[in-house]
Subunit: 419 residues, 2 copies
């Protein structure tokens, strides 16, 4: 860490986040960071700032030698990537909140930070105001990180909370989320899990040094969750939440997925309601930590961007230690998941793929079963998302192969077949 | 941050924390940290490690040029201070968990880190496994930190939880805490607030760059909490917790104290039960973050020590930025507190010191009143801790002078006296 540096900022975007940042930086001169120029698309729109601040010409920022930091808070991942890479190449540090862009280009962006020696920070891109990326990067050594479980999407968590606590149906809850600004007009990216998956790509990199992409990931959103699922959850004193999860298996590889999950009343994530996000980290000595904060909305995002700006004053950069200086972990596809699955017609469920089935409840309209299935039977398959089928993970959901042998012996033994 | 360094550790102490660390470091060679020698008092005691590991001669560690890190996990603040200072002077980095020693010698230890260029890390000394010191140091800029509220003592929180949830009385709850290892045989330091106050000294330094000592602090433990207080809390759907709190006032100074407090059902700290600790940080854009984890017990302490050791591999050190590179905040004694106070005899309560009294409930055995009082009427005074008096802060407890004028006007106006 060097000594304090005066930051001259060029900012792309002047929406709620950008405008908020502008105001706060003006009010706190001790931050030694000021915005010199803001690049926007529409210069004719009336803004709460002097007209001289604005330009529609990106090179006015990217090629201004006085500007040493580029803040990118626009909503266009193609333009965002060009801005960020040009800025780094031009010797500027960068703060970005564009999870999709970052997730799609992580390897190139890590390499570019390395070759240019500049810093790219993106705390705002995952869990908004919770400093989870920096904590994973600095505090939880790969060897010490047993598992991480997180609610990373505020919109879906808000919708699920309203479905459970106020008995709204999915559409009503979504509408309310949109009215309150917790979901976009086009909510597809949120409710189908894409937004969370992009964030999870970033968190996996900083948790375990694993670089992946969302097309390699087992994930889903919350659109299939139905009344029966909610009823089953409530009868078990559980809630359903969209949880991203990674766990180091006994052989050192990592199991990772992002799916709706039954969350027990005693679980810290049960406490995470409405637009909040939460992260539970299990580290050395099997101890649990819980981080909690607002995950959606302009202020939490601005707050995280501001913290990144503050860190740049001291020359902070991600070192990607788990990737570069340690042996990075690899993803496993060789484990089993304990799942609940509800459906209209059993014919659509590949029963033969299950390793074991614990429960089976048959109903007039929908039925459900609980059992254990190989991870590979879900990855890159879509039987569990089609034909009005709904899959929800059980609370204890990762079954390692070693445990499976025991499980099989037990089932057989229970069935009267001694082994 | 430099590149990775191989650590050769000399450790003082081989209790539960020390032994745990020894085992984990042996099992994880990738941490590149090994314990070369352990200094203990009693070398004849049987230990779960080779006899060649141990010595009772501290200079075998402190003057071994191969040892580059000293880990100090003993329970003696005088010996601890000598070990830590000698180690720093001899060019070694140090990890310590001794909050009392650190709190009593913070200015000298900061100076010594500066002059020697070595690093002294002490994450384990406050909130054990929660990485709160490093987050305050790195993530929450002074300007952005509105307030911090924390439960920093697991023993008292355990006792209070059992008093509220299982209706144990203070003595029964204390006994249970001792049986489970959450309180010392001599629990004075915990239950009278000294342990929490020492931790709070450290957190204040990293929150606001404020260096203080516990004798300048307004603090108390939980020994005065009685059944009436608990009943009042429950009637308000609140709990009582020992909360350390600091808040930046409008004039830029900081209000700080550590007292029992009514905690509302909706407050994140209400969620913190048993031996857990929790920290709520309000930062820029008025956003709240909540950190939660185990605060008492050997494993959480060992976990924090281990994280510090891991950080030393990359040359991490506290920069004390808020103290050295920014304008540090100063403590204020010019504000008011909204308090609840229960007592046997009104004659022992200096009513004339109160700015306003909102409620007054008179009972046969104990009575209580709720009102606003200058901070100075409590600091360095003991009327509120003697004569079986019990003081508990109200949930919204800091009243700034500006707000007070409004409050007075309102009261006068309510009393029919137009101003």
């Amino acid at each position: 860490m060097g000594s304090e540096k005066t930051l001259v900022i060029g900012m792309f975007g002047f929406g709620v986040v950008g405008e908020g940042l502008y105001k706060v930086l003006k009010q706190t001169p001790s931050l030694k960071a000021s915005i010199k120029k803001v690049c926007i698309k529409n210069t004719s729109k009336k803004r709460n700032a002097p007209a001289s601040l604005f330009t529609s010409e990106k090179n006015d920022l990217l090629f201004d030698p006085e500007i040493n930091v580029i803040v990118e808070v626009i909503n266009d991942s193609v333009a965002g990537y060009e801005i960020v890479t040009t800025a780094l190449k031009n010797g500027k540090d960068v703060v970005s909140a564009s999870k999709k862009m970052l997730s799609e280009h992580l390897p190139e962006l890590i390499e570019l930070q390395h070759t240019t020696g500049r810093s790219l920070l993106y705390e705002a891109s995952a869990c908004a105001s919770i400093p989870v990326i920096r904590n994973l990067e600095e505090y939880y050594d790969n060897d010490l990180l047993h598992s991480i479980k997180a609610i990373v999407n505020g919109s879906t968590n808000f919708i699920l909370t309203k479905m459970f606590e106020e008995k709204l149906n999915f559409k009503e809850a979504l509408l309310l989320a949109q009215q309150l600004g917790f979901a976009e007009t086009d909510p597809t990216l949120d409710i189908e899990g894409y937004d969370a998956a992009n964030k999870w790509v970033l968190l996996l990199a900083h948790s375990y040094g694993i670089i992946t992409t969302i097309d390699k990931m087992l994930f889903n959103g919350i659109t299939q969750i139905n009344e029966l699922d909610a009823k089953v959850a409530q009868s078990r004193n559980q809630s359903i939440k969209l949880v991203a999860q990674a766990k180091k298996l006994q052989n050192g590889t990592v199991a990772s997925f992002l799916l709706p999950q039954f969350v027990d009343h005693a679980d810290q994530l049960y406490f995470v309601k409405n637009e909040y996000n939460g992260v539970v980290i299990e580290s050395g000595f099997a101890d649990k930590q819980f981080f909690y904060g607002k995950g959606a909305g302009s202020f939490p995002t601005a707050s995280a961007v501001l913290s990144d700006i503050a860190a740049l004053r001291y020359g902070y950069r991600y070192e990607y230690k788990k990737l570069k200086q340690q042996v990075p972990s690899t993803l496993s596809d060789d484990f089993h998941l304990r799942i609940y699955i509800s459906f209209e017609d059993l014919a659509n469920i590949p029963k033969e793929e299950f390793t074991s089935i614990e429960e089976w409840h048959s109903g007039n309209e929908r039925s459900y079963l609980i059992g254990t299935i190989p991870f590979k039977s879900l990855l890159h398959k879509d039987w569990w998302k089609t034909n009005n089928t709904s899959l929800v993970l059980m609370p204890d959901n990762i079954i390692e192969n070693t445990a499976l042998t025991e499980l099989k012996k037990m089932s057989l033994s229970l069935a009267g077949l001694t082994v």
